[in-house]
Symmetry: C2
Subunit: 234 residues, 2 copies
Amino acid sequence: MNRGGSLRGSVVLLSGGMDSATCLAIASHDRPPVHALTVLYGQRHAREVRAARALARRYQVRSHVIVRLPIGPLLDSSLTRPSRSLPTAGPHRGRIPSTYVPARNTILLSIALGYAESHRLGAIYLGANAIDYSGYPDCRPEYFRAFERLTRLATRIGVERGERVRILAPLLSLSKADIVRRGDRLGVPWDLTWSCYAGGLRPCGRCDACRLRARGFRAARRPDPLFGFRSSRA
Amino acid sequence: MNRGGSLRGSVVLLSGGMDSATCLAIASHDRPPVHALTVLYGQRHAREVRAARALARRYQVRSHVIVRLPIGPLLDSSLTRPSRSLPTAGPHRGRIPSTYVPARNTILLSIALGYAESHRLGAIYLGANAIDYSGYPDCRPEYFRAFERLTRLATRIGVERGERVRILAPLLSLSKADIVRRGDRLGVPWDLTWSCYAGGLRPCGRCDACRLRARGFRAARRPDPLFGFRSSRA
């Protein structure tokens, strides 16, 4: 099965959170063989890496590569600068949250593009979501379409054969509850995922990521297995 | 002097070679204040970093940031994989050389974009050259135009104000001899620059980079000061 001409398979940008875990499940079904790429850009939640490793093992990916990219201090964001406080009031419609990391998805996609071209993979999956993070410029459909067009100009396969690497963000227009339902149908092991921004041993329950996760499970009317069989108190 | 609306100044992708040194001179003249960004992506010529540091000091840049991005082993190129031999026969017209690093300029530009947005800089300079490296997909004018368009979709300043970060490759259509002449007019300290791919204490004189450099100085009819006052024997 080769949907991309000479290109075959896919690479998933795997942070270890719910969204990228669901993408991993989708890619494993739709575009095998699957590689996983975890990029650490100095964000606080290094705990997610353990989640990413566990998910990659569970899905028996062809290869899981972890790249440390120490650019956090260069980028202006509360996610990468410990001196800035994390927002806890939930996302604001119409404003770009302080957790926005300048050019983050462009950086992640460009590294994934180099990897995809090197391994002749036809698609890059990422778990971007335009509902919960409607304020992020690089989580919008028009941005992903533009980056996909760029892949045809930026690569050897583009120049030599006119092919492009597909940029797939299958969760883009789903609510967190929809993601829980979609992941449930695919059997995503939620207990292996990690969402909290705060970096503690247990989810803090107060940061935006914890709130969005809790709201998703509540709306999907099922408990979050990360909390055992207790219902989430977040 | 603010040519980019609320954006001011520029960041130069500084490898330490002749081309990025010339860009640094141009940026210092045209779009101060200048920041310099050196990205180490696992290429062999770490010797260039010393050159980059010396150049940044000479030009008194606002800030010089060195980022280690250990993705070399992930990318398929003779420049980043020590097991592959370097080409020594000169560039081939119409073929993409093995020194092509998949998505290299996209990765460099995306990191520079995150930096530029964080520091509200209006332009990214890079020393790409379409004559000497005509085979590289990501050294073509249409590629740079596409990336510049992407900056308007990818960033906060793009969404909130419709601004874009300029991608400036002022050497794109210059021959190596033209670059030597241009740099001479600007007073570029060639003795601080480094070109050789091989990573020795002295330039190897045989790799593509050494040959292109030697050819440039020969065509510009002046000695390469990196070799003292002896003429280059490469």
